[in-house]
Amino acid sequence: MKKLSVEEVKHVAHLARIQVSDEEIESYRTRLGALYEMVDGIHEIEGYSEEMMITPVEEVCSLRKDEVGAMLDGASVLSNAPKTNGKFIEVPVVINE
């Protein structure tokens, strides 16, 4: 069974923005490895091509006319935000220089 390195698990955890403990890293090495193996199985599909990944059906994209439709009012936009500030949605600062 495929086993990821500690560094690989840490990298994936960083991309997902989650903290993992040493025990979890060890557990993910095999669990994520199994997942990777499963995904690799796609290559075994007969006649596999990258285009199949885009869409398996010969469907053509229909285009929308360039017209302005109904929009949400500002209050609705803010209603699901955990925190707001005037007409803005507030989040913790993300710039880190």
Binding site: L15, A16, R17, E50, M53, I54, T55, V57, E59, V60, C61, L63, R64, K65, D66, E67, V68, G69, A70, M71, L72, D73, G74, V77, L78, N85, G86, K87, F88, I89, E90, V91, P92, V93, V94, I95, N96, E97
Partner: protein
Amino acid sequence: MTKYEATIGIEVHVEVKTKSKIFSSSENGYGKDANSSCTVVDLGYPGTLPTLNEEVILQGIRAVHLTHCTLTRKMHFDRKNYFYPDNPKNYQITQNRTPIGQNGYLEIETSEGPKKIEILEMHLEEDTCKSSHKGRVSLLDFNRAGVPLIEIVSKPCMHTKEEAMLYLEKLKETFFYGNISDCKMEEGSMRCDVNVSIAPKESKTLGVKCEIKNIGSIRNVGIAIEKEIARQEEVLEQGQVLKEQTRRFDDQLNDTVLMRVKETGNDYRYFPEPDIPFVFLEEEQIQEALATLPMMPDERRILYQKKGMSKLHIEKILANRSLSDYLNTFLDTNINFVTAANLLLGDISSYLNKNFKKLEQTKLTREKFIDLLQKLEEGALSNKNVKEILEDVLEKEISIPEIMKEKKIQNITDVSFVEEIIQKVLDENTQSVLDYKEGKDRALKYLMGQVMKETKGAVNPKIANEKLVEYLQKR
């Protein structure tokens, strides 16, 4: 810089002019109340689906054509995955494998002659929301989320800040005249990231690149490149190794500052956007897009040059598109373009600027403009007269002859009459004639004043001056 050569590549994002956004029908506008132009699609709500805006495709076709790129007739979109609050879906819909355009160029005029700046590729994508940073918090406005963008990636083929600035000017002019984007850098509708690296001149490989983000004007691009080259040179001269980094331009400091390192390359885990099937560009659609393209600046340059306009005037006219468009409405006439450009750039522009008006808001009809130019050419109106009547010309719905009548302007162009007056003035001012003969310039001015006085300023000054000199020399 002596030992090193700089290599510069530029990524430019322009906001595309459309009524609605790229994947939703919310308004694509600027300056609206925060979070007032959005739908659930722009907010990245689960279960929502993107619907591709036809006009974005047409604008993309135009952009590809104007930059001499090869059009991708069968294309799809991709997801670029990353976590950041400006992007609640956690992915941006962009084009990775099938950019709408590839391998194009724009030609710039450098001090060493023309140079083709090669374009690697051009993508269609959605903008993210706008975040502004305030102390410990960031404020999000989703009006910008989903605004259509075209990203233009140049090859690393520029070597000086001048080339980079000229390329950006050309790109801006092309997209602006093509009606693809407003290209207002101060409003963020054109943004650029610049990659700079330096390497010893004899080196066959490129140096370690540094990306500078957030540059808000073409002038600042020049400053940023200059500072970055100097910084990298200093690092190498001290025997240190350059590290790949992302910096941003700080216009307060007038310098680049180090930013945090973001994901790059594979970390974005691009994969095809499953919610948007293949887009096929048909010949009919391509022709429809290109049919609406107006005359582009380079074609205008050639035409204006043929009409005898100076390079300076051509560039000044092109810098003000409404003047150029106006001038183009006279291409089928035989007006003197040099006089027309002089008038448009001079008195007319200063009147418009002073009164915060646009040319199309005035009463300057085609007939009036032609008549005004003719009268100037014939000498029936002097430049001074034009200044006197300009306000009426631009603001009143009456003809030039009517305005002249109202203002009592009747320039005498009858040469024999002018000659008669000059003879009289010279006979009455023999001392001034002698002064002139002795080389006193002031005498000519005085005599000219007397001629104008005799005719109450109604004589064409150009004709009068020529005749006065002629008659003085005969004496």
